[in-house]
């Protein structure tokens, strides 16, 4: 069984690697790469939900914070001729800002749980949205940043379709690997313990709140990776990129895929991007939101643990394949 899983994983990775050689540019970037970017941001939410039992609606805002930080230090349409920082440094700053934002939000969020945590993180996301919209000196207000320069490596722009796809794929595999590694490491076992019974973990001597904050930090780091890639994908960022619609789309992607296992984030993101792209061909322009709403409803009703759960159910596999089904916290 173990060997078989390795073979399947390797074949799957090989297929993902070969994918851009068989499809046109649109499918490489606007479907493939974009689904991975959205998937990474959704993964940060799934990680918190699956292993920490915490639902955060601030993940898009954290990705946005990283994106804004990178944009400030990059060349863009309203900047001078020279970027404030060389791009690797700017990316490092963005990662620090994203991770830091995750930790700070975690400190506030872990004081509550369940629906209250959801509301408090939503509130924080909206605060960041309005900050971005109303700060004109640093964040350029409603208009945000446009024409952000995408760095070149070895004379080739990272925004080159092939290169960008592989960059996203590599980042996606790395953060996915990070999550899988963490949940088997002592830290991950502790946060899963906290999810299942925080009181018992506390009596065993663990600092429950600090572990949860640390989990938020990890999620912030993952979201920041997505934020950096999203900035390069869009070539800019504006308050709309981190507003209510964007926040909800991350949640929808994560739920469609299934909050039980990290792979759900990517499956959900791909499904979301495909529906978003091709809804117009199926049901017309005006009905995209209706369609995504219906798909969401059907999936949530048929299979509360998303497409990954549905897959497991079809196979009649009750034990799960390494994934953990979220159980509500007491």
């Amino acid at each position: 069984m173990q060997a078989q899983r390795w073979i399947v994983s390797t074949l799957f990775l090989a297929a993902l690697g070969a994918y851009p050689h068989f499809v046109p540019d649109f499918w490489i970037v606007s479907v493939g790469a974009y689904a991975i970017v959205l998937g990474i941001i959704a993964l940060s939410l799934t990680f918190l939900a699956a292993y920490g039992g915490m639902i955060s609606l601030a993940q898009m805002a954290i990705a946005g914070a990283a994106g804004y930080a990178l944009a400030i230090f990059s060349l863009h349409s309203a900047s001078g001729e020279v970027a404030v920082l060389p791009w690797p440094w700017a990316v490092a700053v963005a990662m620090i800002v994203g991770t830091g934002a995750g930790l700070l939000i975690g400190i506030v969020a872990v004081r509550s749980q369940g629906i209250y945590m959801l509301m408090s993180t939503l509130a924080i996301a909206m605060i960041l949205f309005y900050l971005a919209q109303q700060n004109t000196t640093l964040l350029h207000g409603f208009d945000g940043f446009r024409g952000v320069a995408v760095p070149s490596v070895g004379g080739k722009s990272l925004r080159d379709p092939m290169l960008f796809y592989y960059l996203c794929l590599a980042c996606g595999v790395l953060v996915y690997g990070l999550v899988i590694y963490l949940v088997h490491a002592p830290f991950g076992l502790v946060i899963q313990g906290v999810r299942d019974d925080p009181r018992r973990m506390a009596s065993l001597g663990y600092r429950v709140a600090w572990h949860q904050v640390a989990a938020y930090g990890v999620a912030g780091f993952i979201a920041a990776v997505g934020g950096v890639l999203a900035l390069w994908y869009h070539g800019g960022i504006s308050p709309g990129s981190i507003g209510m619609t964007a926040t909800v789309s991350v949640l929808i992607a994560a739920v469609i895929g299934g909050l039980g296992h990290p792979r759900g984030a990517f499956i959900g993101a791909l499904t979301y991007v495909l529906i978003q792209t091709f809804a117009v061909d199926l049901v017309g322009n005006e009905r995209f939101n209706t369609l995504i709403g219906l798909v969401f409803l059907v999936i949530v009703m048929m299979s509360p643990d998303g497409l990954t759960g549905l897959w497991r159910r079809i196979r009649g596999d009750q034990t799960g394949s390494g994934g953990v089904v979220v159980t509500p916290r007491q």
């Binding site: 078989q4 073979i7 399947v8 074949l11 799957f12 297929a15 068989f22 499809v23 046109p24 540019d25 649109f26 499918w27 970037v29 606007s30 974009y34 349409s77 309203a78 309005y130 919209q133 109303q134 004109t136 207000g141 409603f142 208009d143 945000g144 446009r146 024409g147 869009h234 070539g235 800019g236 504006s238 709309g240 990129s241 619609t245 978003q276 792209t277 091709f278 117009v280 322009n285 005006e286 995209f288 939101n289």
Partner: protein
């Protein structure tokens, strides 16, 4: 087990490839339409697609001897979304020409994207940010509608000379379109010697304007307002309720038909308010009467008269069709011939002649208007004066105009 999974994988890959190959059909010209059927600009988006539909029907869906295939996409007003949809139209649906988008931020995003696909042609729909064609324009991006600063041509002079205002306070949305319109108003008003003594910037989506209204200085002769949609209705209602007496000068969106159609006591405030735009109502020419009659006949469920976005998309589509006719529908290769023809298109519209400058930006008439009441009680924009052939630099030398920098909160300034 593995075989079954591989089989499914292959099936998925096969379907995906079939999907991507379906978008090829020869001997038609594929034209993409990008407007907003979602988000705050839904009404404008419907108008845009009405305009394109009518223009194509008039041409019987043929141009230069080739069939036209029209592919619609919808954005929600966010630049990110407009960009994604533009990419889809160009890369997946393989359109030759893209007409759109709707709003300023979207226009700037699509213009940047246009530079990445130099072999396709982009024709602006209704977006009106000044920078789009003024600062580092894309050689394949054309705009047959005027920009937000052009729309205010004549208004500053009218306010100073005819209305006799000397000190004006500004209340405007805090974003690029607001800055652009304020610049359009101020460049004439300040040149005449008028003073803008206070600028109050409010975020889009503001509901409570009481603090903004309280900040309007008592010595202001008039208040220049530039807000759109629900913001405009909210401001006007609260301004009316506050008992303020200063007369208003309106940015283009404030007297848009969507605001004028809203019911409420604020309507009485608006009557007599001067404004300026690339369109106006009830112009006394045959061309205009035909234009309105045609709209009303084709779209009995449309607005009471064709709107500004309708005009923007209509002119853009007409221009594309004219250029296609000239080159016999040849949009192959790098489209150089088509673009050459498009750059030289001159149109006679219901609102007067339209032609392009060297940045592929429209030079056209602007109407100074005043809100008036029809016999049936509805409001409309009565044209007072036509400013002919307004160019993007508002008649000033280009170098000097560009050197003043992009419009912002503090640019221009004449306190």
């Amino acid at each position: 087990m593995i075989n079954r999974r591989l089989g499914r994988l292959a099936l998925v890959a096969g379907v995906a490839t079939a999907f991507s190959m379906s978008a090829f059909a020869q001997n038609t010209v594929r034209i993409g339409g990008l407007a907003t059927l979602d988000g705050p600009f839904v009404v404008l988006g419907q108008e845009a697609f009405r305009a394109m539909e009518l223009a194509f029907e008039e041409a019987n869906y043929t141009a230069g001897g080739r069939k036209i295939e029209w592919i619609k996409e919808s954005s929600d007003g966010r630049p990110d979304v407009a960009l994604t949809k533009a990419r889809k139209l160009i890369e997946q649906d393989k359109v030759d020409i893209l007409i759109g988008p709707m709003s300023g931020g979207e226009g700037l995003a699509v213009k940047e994207y246009a530079k990445q696909v130099p072999n396709k042609t982009f024709v602006n729909g209704f977006s009106a940010a000044q920078e789009t064609t003024l600062v580092s324009p894309a050689p394949n991006f054309f705009r047959f509608s005027t920009d937000g600063a052009q729309w205010q041509a004549g208004l500053g002079t009218y306010a100073y000379d005819v209305k006799g205002y000397r000190n004006v306070a500004v209340v405007s949305g805090d974003y690029s379109f607001g800055y652009t319109q304020v610049l359009g108003f101020m460049s004439e008003f300040c040149a005449k010697g008028g003073k803008v003594i206070e600028k109050i910037w409010v975020p889009n989506g503001t509901k409570d304007f009481s603090s903004s209204i309280a900040r309007i200085p008592a010595k202001a002769d008039a208040v220049y307002v530039m807000l759109g949609g629900a913001d405009a209705v909210n401001f006007l209602t609260q301004y009316d309720q506050s008992g303020a007496t200063q007369p208003l000068i309106a940015g283009s969106n404030v007297v848009d038909q969507t605001v004028l159609s809203a019911k409420g006591p604020f309507q009485r405030r608006l009557v007599g308010t001067p404004s300026a735009h690339m369109v106006a109502d009830e112009i006394d020419t045959q061309a205009y009467r035909d234009y309105v009659a045609q709209y009303k006949k084709r779209f009995p469920n449309g607005l009471s008269s064709p709107s500004a976005p309708y005009y923007g998309y209509y002119v853009a589509t007409k221009a594309v069709l004219a250029a296609l006719n000239q080159v016999g529908g040849d949009v192959g290769g790098d489209q150089a011939k088509f673009r050459q023809a498009l750059a030289n298109v001159k149109l006679d519209t219901a609102y007067g002649p339209v032609r392009l400058d060297e940045n592929r930006q429209a030079i056209a008439n602007i109407y100074v208007t005043e809100v008036a009441r029809r016999a049936d009680g509805s409001l409309y924009n009565r044209p007072l004066k036509v400013i002919p052939n307004v160019n993007q630099t508002l008649g000033q030398p280009k170098d000097a105009f560009v050197a003043r920098g992009v419009p912002s909160r503090d640019n221009p300034s004449c306190p």
